[in-house]
Symmetry: C2
DNA sequence: CTTTGCATTAACCAAATGGTTAAACATTTC
DNA sequence: GAAATGTTTAACCATTTGGTTAATGCAAAG
């Protein structure tokens, strides 16, 4: 990745930073311009309106958050390894974008219709669905305890995502400093996958 | 609870509704006034400023979300029953306030310092801490698998809270209608507690 | 009845905010 | 090198928004 970006890219990066931190209604066009080191009029020159700019940032964010979860289940590993890899991979990728989950969650709540747009683009997580089917079959064969795959799936995602969405709350309640939180997240990778695998034992 | 409230109460209720849905920066004083069926000036007459009004609503919300989790672990039941009761209780209480988790999470992220204020009031979840200690002791005795109590605690909370924070996303991705979501939540009570208990088996 | 003190409102205000414009500046084209 | 095209800026504009004010309504106290 180049450090010298075009103005357009600089704007998107600045917009991403501001929107992610403050949300659509909390973000100020002036702040985005300042962050990008340019004049406010430039934002409108390249991206017409705040709404348009937001849609781009939001769309990319949804892709990052949801696209990845599907991709993780793409391989043809055994299901146990798939769970371990998925958890590890997902927590790692969110670590690099800690604001992402809450940003997406909050904005979807503000305007659920925006999601509809997003889902028209691609198919609905074929890998994830295939994986859930695989789990159901393993349960049938008696290799794992019989659980609702949807409940399981959402539990896994919950355990990976929630700590980031609740970071300031957790560090506050349990008095973790930033370093402690980092090790907590690192340890969490192992914890979640082993927790899930144990829970699935017949 | 009376249906005929004082103006002050009407304002708080209206503010709660608007703030919870739109957040601090997204809420408009005019909308709160309309919701309460009164003049905008009344808001300032009773609560000086938007910020002051928000702090009241936010404080109550934190209390609802965090205060309860501590209270649930108060009794002297065996730890297994405590987990079952806590999960059931917590999911039920959030069902009645589905906007609550995301609202609190989002606003804490916007301004983490606000939390500090909240924690100065009471002690830091003595029951929750006691329960975590109890789990550690059970692990020592070999009655449950040895796990980090903090990781476990946060996992339980994650699994209870996240589905509500992500409701529109989940209903979108997994194409649930409102009724389906309701049964999903109802089933979740049993799923989560049994999932956790299985995961804790030595 | 009138005075007093609180409750309520319409009209108003200043600052913030998303967006526009016309001119200056830079780069490419011929 | 001048015309044309694209980029950037300062100044400006209209609307929104949190907040104020002065006048009105109104119930209780005297």
């Amino acid at each position: 990745m180049q450090t010298t970006n075009t103005t357009e890219q600089q704007i998107i990066e600045a917009a991403r930073k501001i929107f992610m931190q403050r949300g659509l209604s909390g973000a100020r066009m002036q702040d985005i311009a300042d962050e990008a080191g340019i004049n406010k009029a430039m934002l409108h020159y390249y991206y017409r309106s705040k709404e348009k700019l937001f849609e781009i940032v939001f769309g990319e964010a949804v892709q990052m958050l949801l696209g990845r979860v599907n991709a993780i289940f793409a391989g043809d590993m055994p299901w146990k390894e798939k769970i371990v890899a998925a958890v590890d991979n997902y927590i790692t990728s969110i670590s690099e974008n800690p604001y992402l989950p809450l940003f997406v969650l909050h904005e979807i709540n503000q305007n659920p219709d925006r999601m509809v747009q997003q889902f028209l683009h691609g198919p609905l997580f074929p890998n994830l669905r295939a994986f859930m089917l695989e789990l159901a079959m393993e349960a049938e064969k008696g290799n794992i305890r019989k659980v609702d795959p949807l409940q399981l799936m959402i539990s896994i995602i919950s355990m990976c995502v929630f700590p980031f969405a609740a970071k300031p709350l957790l560090t506050g309640v349990f008095q973790m400093d930033p370093a402690r939180f980092k090790t907590f997240i690192e340890e969490r990778k192992k914890f979640v996958s082993s927790f899930v695998l144990h829970a699935l034992e017949p």
